[in-house]
Symmetry: C3
Subunit: 500 residues, 3 copies
Amino acid sequence: MLVYKSNQKRRLKSSVNWTACIPLAAIIGVFWVYAATAQTPAPTPEPLTPDKVQENVAALKVGLDTIWVVIASFLVFFMNAGFALVESGFCRRKNAVNILTKNLIVFAIATIAYWAIGFGFMYGDSGGNTFIGLKGFFLSGADNSPATLDAYKGDFPGLSWTGVPLEAKFLFQLVFAGTAATIVSGAVAERIKFVSFLIFSFLLVGISYSITGHWIWGGGWLSKVGFFDFAGSTVVHSAGGWAALIGAAILGARHGRYGEDGKNRAIPGHSMSLATLGCLILWLGWFGFNPGSTMAADGRLISHIALTTNMGASAGGIAATIVAWFYLGKPDLSMIVNGILAGLVSVTASCAWITLPSSIIIGAIGGIIVVFAVGFFDSLKIDDPVGATSVHLVCGIWGTLAVGLFAVGQTADIGGGYILQAGAGPKAGLFFGGGFDQVVAQLIGIASVGGFTVAFSFIAWYVISLITGGIRVEPEEEFKGLDISEHGMEAYSGFSKESE
Amino acid sequence: MLVYKSNQKRRLKSSVNWTACIPLAAIIGVFWVYAATAQTPAPTPEPLTPDKVQENVAALKVGLDTIWVVIASFLVFFMNAGFALVESGFCRRKNAVNILTKNLIVFAIATIAYWAIGFGFMYGDSGGNTFIGLKGFFLSGADNSPATLDAYKGDFPGLSWTGVPLEAKFLFQLVFAGTAATIVSGAVAERIKFVSFLIFSFLLVGISYSITGHWIWGGGWLSKVGFFDFAGSTVVHSAGGWAALIGAAILGARHGRYGEDGKNRAIPGHSMSLATLGCLILWLGWFGFNPGSTMAADGRLISHIALTTNMGASAGGIAATIVAWFYLGKPDLSMIVNGILAGLVSVTASCAWITLPSSIIIGAIGGIIVVFAVGFFDSLKIDDPVGATSVHLVCGIWGTLAVGLFAVGQTADIGGGYILQAGAGPKAGLFFGGGFDQVVAQLIGIASVGGFTVAFSFIAWYVISLITGGIRVEPEEEFKGLDISEHGMEAYSGFSKESE
Amino acid sequence: MLVYKSNQKRRLKSSVNWTACIPLAAIIGVFWVYAATAQTPAPTPEPLTPDKVQENVAALKVGLDTIWVVIASFLVFFMNAGFALVESGFCRRKNAVNILTKNLIVFAIATIAYWAIGFGFMYGDSGGNTFIGLKGFFLSGADNSPATLDAYKGDFPGLSWTGVPLEAKFLFQLVFAGTAATIVSGAVAERIKFVSFLIFSFLLVGISYSITGHWIWGGGWLSKVGFFDFAGSTVVHSAGGWAALIGAAILGARHGRYGEDGKNRAIPGHSMSLATLGCLILWLGWFGFNPGSTMAADGRLISHIALTTNMGASAGGIAATIVAWFYLGKPDLSMIVNGILAGLVSVTASCAWITLPSSIIIGAIGGIIVVFAVGFFDSLKIDDPVGATSVHLVCGIWGTLAVGLFAVGQTADIGGGYILQAGAGPKAGLFFGGGFDQVVAQLIGIASVGGFTVAFSFIAWYVISLITGGIRVEPEEEFKGLDISEHGMEAYSGFSKESE
């Protein structure tokens, strides 16, 4: 207590050093300038014609479409917070700083990677090939490679060219690309080297994600075989999921996860409140992810997609609750979180082309699958601390396939007499009288994106391992926790630790 | 440390099992398909007429209105996160998982309940009665029960039919319905059986909320007696609050809350940071809740409502701070949180029909009331761990009544010379020269919704008690905490516990 | 355990007291009223002319602009949560309630201060002087001081008068004003008296911020000398930063921060997860802060600003990561958080007038500066627990200056052939061929706002010190923590404390 005694007295004294700043205030007077500003005269209005008014209407429509795309981008951006919380909440206290740092910086890296190369690969003019875009790097293609403007309309037949500015579309695509990298973050948590993860994120976003994305949304070959993925069950989620799986498999399990005896020992996460908040933020973000993929303020389509998205999440959450209750004996919160996310991933590919009851079925199946997928990967001793592989890979595949099963077809009623996208979108699915055509197209897409991403990830992790001297931290570092070893700090100062 | 030794070496080896995946990559070539896609020829434009252009303007207006409703819905949806954080933050660590789980799954349940039956009861064609809607279940009524379309315009005279699609309106109404259930969650926290709560939520949203909602917003009898509730002080908050009160009363207090000696012993919550974040999320969500209730992108009305909402919150927070400071001796954070929420609830009914100074008065009174209401319920030994009853029920009633006191009337200036809704809305309130007419109408609404909800809740809790063998967990479970007993997990692994 | 025994039995009994409520339900019948509501006859449509349709287009444009401004306001409002989390996360557990309370109530205080006086000072009719507005207090000026309407168009040449309603503009300006106060909160944390902070916030928002804001955005003298600040690097950030600096300097360092030996001893924050979430919320909020400052739904401009904002944040984060890694030896999470915020502050002034590569450079320099600024203030023994001064003051100055260096000029291509604001905005910057003109104008603004704010803050803190008997808590209170001494509660009940 004694040390405080003079502190109180020094308070005013300490400010004396700063009084020197006061004279600055006097400077103000010196710059007091009265200058008249020129008034722009009001232009004389021309007589209006219907064509002129229609021009204003068109400009307004572009403004409205852009506002929608931009706001949807913000919502998807916010998913970074959701992933950060779910992933750190599901991991241990001693690795919290590491996971948070990864999730914070990964979007910054994705921004640079996607701006410099990814967007060009994904939506740039390919010069006739259907594998990869080759222009528009550094977002430079706007005026000298018209195909950039053209190709990145995306391949949603029936959605007319929206006129949304290039930069708005880039922003929306960027936040999607960022999502792919965050999926990996969870699966490799608690044992990967920080620098190895950063390099992989750059490569995944800049190269692999963008190439397979080109196939589907950039006018590439998969779009030409009739493969459909509205908002990215494959483009984003299963692509990120495959990369996550390979990462988790190469890294090996966390120490102690599968004991000497081979028994599965769950490692509880350090904050269920963070994880739950993260789940709700992701749910919110998905309202940008799916409805935003319309890329235009089409009210009826946006409303329908918002509802199928919400139905998928709800059904996934309820299904996972029930399954966990029966299968694990308790309504396990982490399973419910993953069930909701599973439902969301599952409806992502089909959300614009299915009825509400279908979205409930698709979401519920996703919520059931995810519980068993977690068990399945454990049986393979592939240690995914947050279940990212089960959620994004397995349900991403399921969701992509669901287009082939549940799509109502290009001229059918989507509910209440609406035909949302006349003459556009996938063919009717198997359960809606369309036979196996669309199923086959979907399987082609699932396999090819999977194959490419797996191969790419293998090579990338291997190369990175050479560069960074292995991709896994030392055992002692893992034991101490990555927060101390990688970042030199702890997440929760002032809270005493539970002995492990 | 020894156990780690071979782990490092196994890292690359462990990946060998997965090299089998690589051949998948080869599959890509097989599906390499070059197919030309048909180009849609540009349609020859017809000559434009003013009527044709006006059609485009109208379509654009529907688009804009829908975007607004949808975005407002997202904000209200996010309130689920706010409630989850406020409620769990105000409760004990040992029950955190339970409360988070309730708040996470309750919206999923509300989604199904409101889709299957609630929306039909609330906005469906009633066939002439003014008590309950009878069509539009499973959102099926769009084409065969025109009154669904008609009735759910809501009963805000002066707001013209907006043309917002049915599914957008359903989404907006759904997120409101979900709110009602989350209110109950807080009041019954720390001792209710998980399954009992889930069933009650389903019934509240699907039946009681929707029926009383029909009376007010669905064209039912209360709307015909001149009762007004713009955004739900009664429809949502006091209805949820009555259900919460009955639940808390039936359950009885948490063990130790009112000691053997009858003394009130406060049980501190486990995370003020979660509670504060939750409060700010709720404040944000309210910007969707109140301004979104315009159901149309009416800029002037939306701006005014956003301001009255914000004034109410601010005044409520400041008033509660001051009152708590004088009355409790300290500026108690939990009181400030509840003061802000109280201010928000208080202006919800009247936000579109009052001046800014009125909104400050209404919010401030709400912030004062809530501090004393917390004390009042404690004196009755009704244990509401988070103060939900004080906030939502008491201030919901106050806010509803405030319409009768502060409404400017249908032709009066709302500030700055605006007449926001000429010829529409409630009559002038008592303090604005309108006499007691509107006060009486408001009292009728408060009493009737209260009476119905109380009766319904009693019956519902009783029936649920029979089904689930009582609605309260066993004393040992309560002592251990619901996280372990109901969910088999803890919220904060790695943090050592404070001895109680 | 024994105490529980009768509790279970009393459960149903306890409800008996409440059965008295049931009769209320009977009341419903009494009020059962069937009243026919008058039907409004559909108006006969007039024949449409292009002028009439154009009027509808104009109304729609105002609606769209307003929606954008309102939604941007909501995003900026949410920054309150971001500041609350970053600041409390970076401080100690024992002061968490205090910081949260400050950040929660400060926006309520800002609301009242800015409504009552600030907005009038900032945007009210000045009657010819260029120093301060003198009408429009209590938002009353809408009809009797037309200049209120006129002046607060802001001074963004090239942005035509948008027609957004007064109340929407007030809302947007209010959330900005609130930000300035929260900046101070962080720098003075862990030792300021709660009441002293509240009074200072009121004065800062109501008077100082609004006066200097008038100079720049309210049509005052700085706008006439050609000073430009698009979204507030100076108006908001450096103004708040100067006030923060003076507060921190006058208060003196926290006990133990600079030991007896004068050595710098870092005091770790209590929750990196809160701080990280806060950073992501602030990043999200900045998408309202910068793009919203268009005050109109100009899609192309908004998209560009959203991108420059995001580039600045990303570059700042990456630069701070690298610098911290080399300079401090580890990728320090708190430095990354501050690097991102530094990048955001740095591009705020120029975001509408620079190319994407420039935004990367500006943000990266911000991220570098902030690391060294933190060290610099430590060397001066000015203790800023969260680095607010480094982020908001230093980078606010840098960002303001950057306009003079990187602005493309009024007729130049901003990327991809766009001229975003033909004939408007700042002159070309030094690096874009414009010479020193704009640099000089920016320096005038930086110095004059700095000088005024420093002088004002000195006086304000001094007067407050007289009123509240010093502005710093007693040493024992600081030692115990402000949560107990100022609020009588702790933030984390149930978590045992780490011995210090």
